[in-house]
Symmetry: C2
Subunit: 351 residues, 2 copies
Amino acid sequence: MAQSIRLAVIPGDYIGPEVTEEALKVLSAVCPAYDIKVDPTHYDLGAQRYLATGEVLPDTVLDELRQHDAILLGAVGGRPGDPNLPAGILERGLLLRLRFELDHYVNLRPSRSFPGVPTPLASDAEIDFVVVREGTEGLYVGNGGVVRRGTPQELATEVSVNTAFGVERVVRDAFVRAQGRRGRLTLVHKTNVLVHAGGVWSRIVAEVAPEFPDVTVDYLHVDAATIFLVTEPERFDVIVTDNLFGDILTDLAAAVTGGIGLAASGNVNPDRTAPSMFEPVHGSAPSIAGQGKADPTAAILSAALLLGHVGEQAAAQRVEDAVAFDIAARVDAPARTTSQIGDDIAERVSN
Amino acid sequence: MAQSIRLAVIPGDYIGPEVTEEALKVLSAVCPAYDIKVDPTHYDLGAQRYLATGEVLPDTVLDELRQHDAILLGAVGGRPGDPNLPAGILERGLLLRLRFELDHYVNLRPSRSFPGVPTPLASDAEIDFVVVREGTEGLYVGNGGVVRRGTPQELATEVSVNTAFGVERVVRDAFVRAQGRRGRLTLVHKTNVLVHAGGVWSRIVAEVAPEFPDVTVDYLHVDAATIFLVTEPERFDVIVTDNLFGDILTDLAAAVTGGIGLAASGNVNPDRTAPSMFEPVHGSAPSIAGQGKADPTAAILSAALLLGHVGEQAAAQRVEDAVAFDIAARVDAPARTTSQIGDDIAERVSN
Ligand SMILES: CC(C)[C@H](C(=O)O)[C@@H](O)C(=O)O
Ligand SMILES: CC(C)[C@H](C(=O)O)[C@@H](O)C(=O)O
């Protein structure tokens, strides 16, 4: 059945547009064989737009984004320490605003090892897990404040907000994913210190578990989880965790599986009340922009997640297979530019 | 000059007493040569006491602990999932209560690699850094609460509290340490999301920096810091960070340098208004208790930190050197029991 995907594309800053172009190239190459039409509309958002116009995410643009089936984002962010970019303005005003407004409560971050890819670990055990990071609560809500700013009496607070509603929906999503995988779910939290938030997470996991008798559940404190991520990452199947712990664990997970050049992510609204957004975990990397050095693999894998989300499993699998093949071929091969990697993967998916 | 150390000893649970005994053995062995007298008083606190009596940390015991020059703690904690041990009761009621009551605002966690010790990393670059973790604020204050507990409308909050007073004193401590080491200080936070708390941390680091012109300062988001801890841990000298980030980073740091069997820590009150407390980073490990399998090295290194804190640098160095020698000798040698390791290190320091 022919499907047409109204795709909002936010290339962003620096290497963002470079990797996004390759992801679109691969989408264009894979889609015809599956009778999928991609209809992209580009949106200029990010540091450069903010610096030029003072606009972060105009409401009219947000409204337009809502009219799409999915969003593909490259990376946004200015030069580190740019005095014209207040701390957090793009994060809070654009990236997190999109996650919250579009109710991306499942922040999905798969981690797998690719044979032949060098990793910082001595072990080459096969790694294949997915982190289901809550995306709309926790310390990311922006609750908190400052009194007596800039004085010796300054007091700054940050409030982590956790609701049964918010926790249950992401926990259920994680159980379903575990059921479709190797049947292991690990809750990661810090229940021995964060007893209030920890209580709701533990209670809900315990309550939902009996509905999934084929899923084995365990629990790790976040500090212990970081240890296992480097000593025994193969033990994990599905990790469910809160917004901040998920942020930390997925960067670490990306590092142990070969770097954030390969780490894809989906900001998913499973209820489909708004478009989901797919983006590489990496940032805009100003220092390597414009040199053809950016690895577009994470952006291409994010496009594969997007295809899977809109129901095009076969096309998604084809992209993933092509990426795995391409990565294997990198071993002992000369380095390629961003667009050469995109070309090679595009060619492989269209064959 | 002869010094007598009034030492409060809290062996704790499971392997806690096993490793503490070895740490005391090494202290007894090293002290005579430096004219140090250790006068230990044991305090029975932890899961077993709580389960037997319902007491966590009676005020009278806390008052007695205050009368000491330092505290040596083994590890406290019951069997995982013990229904008679409410989540967090020992952590909040004992460990954290001690840190807060005794104003342990510098939670000091050195990480170094020992030649020959297997680590999960492929690289064997030399690692030698120290994390200065804030110990009395952040998400550890226990601020927060729950409404509609156990219902679908449950809301749980956790409040991170950050004061200029609390941040400045730990930041200053970290600068001084960096000055006495390789002159590099890295602030780790998540200023792009936690803009309120991040603001006070960034501002104070920037304000204090000019007083330490020989210290180079940089900044990493906590997620990026976990990446560098596995890809390039040798880049770090002193890390200063908040209570929760410090908790996470130091377990990861322990893992990359050879495991929490080697990781020592000091809960330090630099103003000496109350005794500082020294403890291995590891827990009470019920599953290996009673078998002579626990590695007492972290406890012994914690005793060395204790000696340094009370001004006995030479004795501290002697213990550290003996430990380094002992660790090097482990390579390709048969495994020893907990007490054999303690004996060997004790013998080496007394020679
Ligand atoms: C840029 C930042 C707001 C974001 C986050 O903290 O979620 C990023 O680190 C990520 O993981 O997507
Ligand atoms: C046991 C727990 C309260 C403690 C902490 O979170 O600080 C531990 O993990 C540590 O690092 O000392």
